[in-house]
Symmetry: C2
Subunit: 387 residues, 2 copies
C-alpha cells in the first residue's frame, strides 16, 4: 500500500485471514470491527471507553461532519483526530450514502449528488472530488471513494448503469486524491491534515455476479490503497449477501485489506470473515443498545422483557465488560424503562465489547487454526436450537 | 448519633465546620455535596464516574423509586446500594417534595399526601409511616422524615399551619422509624435492608424567623439522628435564604451534621458553609450540564455560544477533570448542537467535578483556617466584576 498505511497477513484458514493494518494512528489487528462515530462521537461512549474496550479504529460519517461543524473548521482545529480527542485510527465514508438516504430532494447526476441538508435545507453538491477534499481536511487514516448508492431491489440494467457511474466516480476520486498528494507539501495543513491518509475504492454491482466481477476488476485496475465491497446489507437476503461476498472477495488483492461496508450481525461477522473480509462497520451494536437489545454469548437479550424485572444476573454471565461486572438485568431494565442516559451507556458498553471481543476471539482462532471450531461453537451458543 | 452513623467535627472557622460523617457505607468528609441520582442513577454518569470524581455520598429520590421499580423489588434485590451497584453512602429524601411537585391531583391531609402517579395515574398515599417504610426497604444510609412542602410565597398563617403539620409528621416518622428498629432483628431483611440507617428530621417555617425557631426547637426535641433545613431555595430571595440559614443553623445540635436541602449554586455553597451547613444536594450541576451550562473557576460558561465554535481551550484551563483534559470548547459545542449523548456525559463529568472539587477545597481551607480567604478569592474569580 502507498500512503502511511501497510497491510500484512499473519495467518489464514481457508479464505479467512488474520493480519495487521498499520495506519498513521497505530496498528489495527484484522479482522476488525469499527464502531460507528457518526458525528465525531460513538453514541453514548467517550474516547476513553473505546480505548478501554480495545477499539483500534472507528468510523466517522463525512456527510454529518461536512454539514456540521464543517470540514474547514475541523481542518483548522488540526483534523478530526485532534478535534474529537481520538488518537487511534479513523476511517471516513465518502458521504454518499447519507447524502442519498438523509438528504432531501437529492438527485444523482453524472457530476455527483445534489441534495438538501436534513438540518437546514441548504443545497449541497457532493462530487467525487469534493468527497476527497472533505476527507482530506478531516484527516482520517482511511478515506473512501464516492460511489453511487443503488436502490434495492434494482434491475440488472439499473445496477449496471449505477456500477459504471461508480467506476467513473472512482477514477475521478483517485485522480483528485493523487493530485492533492502531489500538490501538497509533506506536512499537514488545514486542508489536508493527515498526509498519510489512504484511499479505498468500492466495488458495486448489486446482487449480480457479472456486475460485481466487472466492478472488482475495473476498480482494482484504478489502483486504490485497498478495496471495499459496498451496496450490501441493504435489504437483500442474507444468503445472497454471503454469495456476493464469497465471489467478490477473491477478486480483490490478497495483500490488501478487504472492507465489507455496513455489515452486520454477529452471525455476519463470522460468515464474512470466513469468506475473506478483514474490516467491518455497523451501527447495530450501538443502535440496538439504545433500543434495549443486548448481544450475549447466548444470543440476543431484550432488556425490556418483563422476565428480567427481578433477574439479578448480568446480561451475559461469561462476559467481563464493565456492564456485566456491575449491573444486573433488573437494574438495566429499570434504567431503560426510566429513560436514563446510563441505560444507553451501559448497554452500548456491553454491545461494543461483545463485538470487539468476538473479533478478538476470531483473530486468536485464526492464528491457532481453530476458526472453524470457533464459528461452530459460536453458532451453537448464539442461536441455540430451542431458545 | 444512634444507628450506624457518627459525626465528628475536625475543624471550625467561625460558624463553618469541617468534619466526617461515618455511615454504614463509608465516611463522608463534610462539608459535602451530594449529586442527585433521581431514579437510582446520576443522570449521564455511571457509578465508576462518581467513584472517580470522589463522590462519597449521593442522593436518590424515594418518590421515583417507589413508583418504579418499587421499594419491594429493590428490597428483594438487597437494597438500593446493591441494586444500583453503588458501594458508598446514599441518602434518600422522603418522597414528599416530588409527590407534591410531580404528582397530579395531590391533596395534603393530616394523614399524609394523596397523589396520582405522574407515570400512570395510579392513586397513592404517602404518609409519614409509609415514607419510613419505603426508605427502610431502599436501605439508604440516611432516611429523611416526611415533611409538608409549603408553596411559596406563603402567609405567616399558612407557614405556621404547614410547619406544625410537618412537626406532627416528624413525630410520627420518628416513632415509626424507632418501632421498625425495635421490631426488626439486627440483620438486614427485604423490608429493612440497611439496619444501620440513620434518620434526619427537617426544620420548616418558610421565611419567618419565629416559625423557623419554633420548628428547630421542636424538631430537635423529637431526637433525630441529625437535622436538615427544608423549604428553602424555592423562589425566595437569596439574601432571605442566607438569613434563614444563618439564624437556623445555630439552633441545630453542633455535634450533628446539618443538611440544607436542594441548594444550590456554587455561591450558595460558600455562603451556607460559612453559616454552618455540612451537607448539600442540588440538581444544578447535572441539569445545567445537560442544558450546556458549565461551571468553571472563571464563572458560568454557556457552551452553545457561537464564540466557542473554534475555541481550542478546555472549558476550564485550571481544571483537571476528564473533560477538560480531553475536550475543547469547540468539540463540546459541536456535540451539544448535535444532540450527542457524549455532550451530556462530558458536561456532567465536568460540572460534578467542579462541585466536588469546590467542596474539597473548602474542606482543605477549613482545616488550614483559610476558608474566608478561599471564599473571597472564589467570589472574585467566579463572578469577575467585568465578565
Amino acid at each position: 500500500m502507498a500512503s502511511g498505511s501497510a497491510f500484512r497477513v499473519i495467518a489464514t484458514e481457508g479464505a479467512a485471514r488474520c493480519g495487521v493494518l498499520t495506519t498513521p494512528h497505530g496498528p489495527v489487528e484484522t479482522p476488525a470491527f469499527m464502531p460507528v462515530g457518526t458525528r465525531g462521537a460513538v453514541k453514548a461512549l467517550l474516547a476513553r471507553d473505546l480505548e478501554d474496550l480495545g477499539a483500534a479504529i472507528i468510523l466517522a460519517n463525512t456527510y454529518h461532519l461536512h454539514l456540521r461543524p464543517g470540514e474547514a473548521l475541523i481542518g483548522r482545529a488540526g483534523g478530526l483526530h485532534r478535534f474529537m480527542g481520538w488518537t487511534r485510527a479513523l476511517l471516513t465514508d465518502s458521504g454518499g450514502y447519507q447524502a442519498y438516504s438523509l438528504g432531501s430532494r437529492r438527485t444523482i447526476t453524472p457530476d455527483g449528488i445534489r441534495f438538501r441538508s436534513h438540518l437546514d435545507g441548504t443545497p449541497h453538491l457532493l462530487t467525487p472530488e469534493s468527497a476527497v477534499e472533505i476527507q482530506a481536511a478531516l484527516g482520517s487514516d482511511v478515506a473512501m471513494a464516492l460511489d453511487e448508492c443503488l436502490g434495492s431491489p434494482a434491475t440488472f440494467e439499473a445496477a449496471r448503469t449505477s456500477m459504471r457511474r461508480s467506476l467513473d466516480w472512482a477514477r475521478r476520486s483517485r485522480a483528485r486524491f493523487l493530485a492533492l498528494q502531489a500538490e501538497a507539501g509533506a506536512g499537514p495543513s488545514p486542508t489536508r491534515t493527515n498526509p498519510g491518509q489512504a484511499q479505498f475504492g468500492i466495488v458495486q454491482g448489486g446482487v449480480f455476479p457479472a456486475l460485481r466481477a466487472e466492478s472488482a476488476a475495473e476498480t482494482v485496475a484504478i489502483g486504490f490503497d485497498a478495496y471495499a465491497i459496498g451496496g450490501l446489507s441493504v435489504g437483500e437476503p442474507t444468503e445472497t449477501m454471503y454469495a456476493i461476498v464469497e465471489q467478490t472477495a477473491p477478486r480483490l488483492p490478497a495483500d490488501r485489506p478487504r472492507y465489507l461496508m455496513g455489515t452486520g450481525t454477529p452471525e455476519d461477522l463470522f460468515a464474512c470473515v470466513e469468506r475473506g473480509i478483514d474490516l467491518f462497520d455497523c451501527v447495530l451494536p450501538t443502535r440496538n443498545a439504545r433500543n434495549g437489545q443486548l448481544f450475549t454469548s447466548a444470543g440476543r437479550l431484550n432488556i425490556k422483557n418483563a422476565r428480567y424485572a427481578e433477574d439479578p444476573r448480568p446480561p451475559d454471565e461469561s462476559c467481563g465488560c464493565y456492564t456485566c461486572r456491575h449491573a444486573s438485568r433488573a437494574y438495566l431494565r429499570h434504567l431503560f424503562l426510566s429513560g436514563e442516559i446510563a441505560a444507553a451507556t451501559l448497554n452500548t458498553l456491553h454491545n461494543v465489547h461483545f463485538y470487539l471481543d468476538t473479533m478478538r476471539r476470531i483473530r486468536d482462532a485464526l492464528v491457532f487454526g481453530s476458526f472453524r471450531n470457533l464459528k461452530a461453537s459460536f453458532e451453537q451458543s448464539f442461536n441455540p436450537p430451542s431458545a
